[in-house]
Symmetry: C2
Subunit: 469 residues, 2 copies
């Protein structure tokens, strides 16, 4: 049976957690549920993926900011819909301010804009966010996970910044090369119109919206059941809604179909026009090829006001790998005059197993010890070889050379070289009495086993050439 | 009156927080007390400083890891002394595991070693840690702050890894070029010996140690008062302790003095020998020049077992800018057999105002918009200039060129160029009807005001040259 990388990861973690239960102690020495330790190779891979993403953000003129991992609880209240609101991690009241861990990087961004009085900012932010979700490794749902957010705050003509955003998302997932993907787009006001057309009262909009948002992980049948049993929606209303929210397709075909069927003539027409404008702009900037117009798209958070988007990887059972949209009124909850905003979050953790699998298949080797050199000594009765050894380390380190120390000073040469081999260190600089007297070293390539004699005064020049090759 | 950069920062933040109090709302839109938002220029400066530090960690063969921002509360309990233990941020019990925010990166490292079964690891970790301290901006004391930690776990000969660590700390602060500094070193077992020599009972060691640790921010008089009034130490014991803990100086002079006075002959002799060995190794690797042997050094955490170290900047009233030492038994609190460890944390936040001041004095300009190009259009009645504009953006972005969009599509050329000037974007690519027909662009340097005509097919080549210069 072929397992998907996320399933392999799930098995690995489950097994690891089983092993972690020592018999003699009650406390299980593990990371908290729904979180992960990142091993050195994983940190490296994650950094490379983040660099691809942030390079593209910077291409669009964005600058990086940082905010605290917790916010005043009141700042976060009432922003994330009925589901999201329950998933916020609260800090215990230990006196002083009442705090919660951030749930996303969007509300902290809006708070930041208000706190510092920005009128316009194109920023990106890479950081961990926290949700008390039921964790699912295969779905890529964690309680602590990374987001890479790009947002633009400021005045703009309709759909211009929105189109740039979608093109950027397209460029990121094309560059990350994870396989085929769809960028699903819709408009929050179309959703409102659909709920209204179905005859559901306005007071139910938010709660119905929360149910529809579950369509990215549940079937329509399940969502319909929830709407009828928990949200007071009638069978007839649900049927009407069902016909609407299940419409999706190639952007221009959808526009044509919706126009022909005159679905949004009475309401939502303006939003539909905006979507058509978006597609025109995207076509002009060559960003339309992976876009799908999907009327089932809802997004859980309360703050969206216009475009909404999510990216899904085709043929993978992971959740959305990007999400976002336009939220023109959120800054206005923090200050008198709002500032329109549009943005997207890229979910690094959901794509991480795929990137990791690609790295492994690439045949690239990751060394847990990144040193290129070790200094090994031949014991002597006449000379303090420890002093001579560290003289060379000083030379190496002062010149920025990566060099690891074998912390056993009295090991013989063979043992020192075995240590270097174990650590996958490619070169050894070997010195004994003769080398010290003649001011030379033996430079040994531990893979090819070739040795050469190098004058101490040329050492840095010679090894810098080796490292560069 | 000349203000120190940290005082200027304090004033700035105070004023900012005053301004942040809107009259009409009760909720103050601000970041939590003791935390900071980092503005784009600050993130850039911080990243540069972190790169200097982590490059040096990598030079010594270290690899990066990452752990969650919270840990099971039990993992952190009983590790940080009587003062530290009270400063841990607890998460509210919302069902499930009982969690706390990490207080440092050291205990999570020891937990990581145990969880993953490492026998040997040289790792670094850059992350935020959390302490419910009374914040003081001028002292550089925050509730959320960055640490850059380097630690080595594994067997080693006495003081070899310890010496490498001190040399690394020396190299880091030399490279950061913040002005003169002292690396204060001592040995936890010397502290135990001194408390014992003063006649204080063994049961009081930890609590007396906590008081002595305050010497880096309080006078001996204050600490003595605490010892007598709160810790049950007699006047005579305090007097005896006072004579010992106030000894400090150049390493070899101290060794000589302590030997002559035979202070540690009965106990602590082994620790003193280890200190002498440390100095010998450091001398050999050229890392002794900024080291001070300081018997007042205590370190608050309970887990230290050997070398302890702190770095102080001379002439600045900020707290220690590095701290750490040897903790051979900490991993042993999580598994049957301990693994000896030694490490140091570099406190980026304490040195940040100084690095920021240096950046400002360097005359370097930081642009909040990092774009190099904007595409500006001359309006036309015959051609869809928006389409032509985004065709060029597609070309730029597909080739990794940093280009910002003016989100107003109907502004005239002058307004578009004003926008570019405001954003400090150095170049504009200008197109009108004629340019589109002839497949050329005007490339304008917005600083020198020079213009040139470039063929569209040569555009990427020409502007890549400009960016590289």
């Amino acid at each position: 049976m072929d397992l998907k990388p996320e399933q392999i990861e799930e098995q690995r973690i489950e097994e690891q957690q089983k092993e972690q239960q020592p018999q003699e102690k009650q406390l299980i020495i593990k990371n908290p549920k729904g979180t992960r330790d990142f091993l050195p190779q994983q940190v490296l891979i994650r950094k490379q993926a983040i660099k691809i993403i942030t390079d593209i953000f910077e291409q669009h003129g964005a600058v990086e900011i940082d905010t605290p991992v917790f916010e005043l609880r009141e700042i976060l209240m009432g922003k994330y819909g009925e589901v999201g609101g329950k998933l916020i991690y609260d800090l215990q009241d230990q006196g002083g301010e009442i705090l919660s861990l951030r749930y996303d990087l969007t509300v902290p961004f809006a708070r930041y804009i208000a706190t510092h009085g920005y009128k316009r900012l194109k920023r990106y932010h890479v950081g961990k966010v926290y949700r008390r979700e039921n964790p699912s490794i295969s779905y890529g749902r964690f309680r602590e996970f990374f987001q890479c957010d790009f947002d633009f705050a400021g005045e703009n003509d309709p759909m211009v910044a929105d189109a740039e955003l979608i093109r950027m998302v397209d460029q990121i997932f094309t560059k990350l090369d994870l396989g085929p993907f769809h960028i699903k787009v819709s408009h929050r006001k179309l959703l409102d119109a659909m709920i209204n057309i179905a005859g559901i009262p306005k007071t139910q909009f938010k709660t119905v919206c929360s149910s529809i948002d579950k369509l990215n992980r549940q079937s329509w049948k399940e969502v319909k059941q929830e709407l009828i049993e928990q949200k007071g929606v009638t069978e007839e209303q649900a049927e009407k809604l069902s016909q609407l929210v299940q419409l999706k397709g190639e952007p221009y075909q959808m526009i044509q179909q919706l126009k022909e069927q005159k679905l949004f003539e009475q309401q939502g027409q303006e939003a539909l026009d905006e979507m058509e404008l978006l597609f025109n702009l995207l076509k002009q900037m060559n960003g339309l090829k992976n876009v799908i117009f999907d009327l089932s798209l809802a997004r859980g958070a309360d703050y969206y006001t216009g475009l909404i988007q999510e990216t899904e990887l085709l043929g993978r059972q992971v959740g959305p790998i990007s999400g976002g949209g336009r939220y023109d009124n959120l800054v206005g909850t923090f200050q008198k005059n709002s500032i329109p905003c549009v943005g997207a979050a890229i979910g690094i953790d959901r794509i991480f197993p795929i990137i990791e699998e690609k790295f492994k298949n690439s045949g690239k080797v990751f060394r847990e010890n990144q040193s290129d050199f070790i200094v090994a000594t031949i014991p002597s009765h006449n000379i303090d070889m420890t002093a001579e050894k560290f003289k060379i380390y000083d030379l190496l380190w002062s010149n920025g050379i990566k060099a690891d120390v074998c912390y056993r000073l009295h090991w013989n040469l063979g043992k020192q070289l075995s240590y270097a081999n174990e650590q996958q260190i490619p070169y050894a600089i070997i010195i004994g009495e003769d080398e010290v007297k003649q001011e030379i070293v033996q430079l040994k390539d531990l893979i090819s086993k070739k040795e050469e004699i190098v004058n101490l005064k040329d050492l840095i020049k010679v090894i810098k050439q080796k490292v560069e090759n």
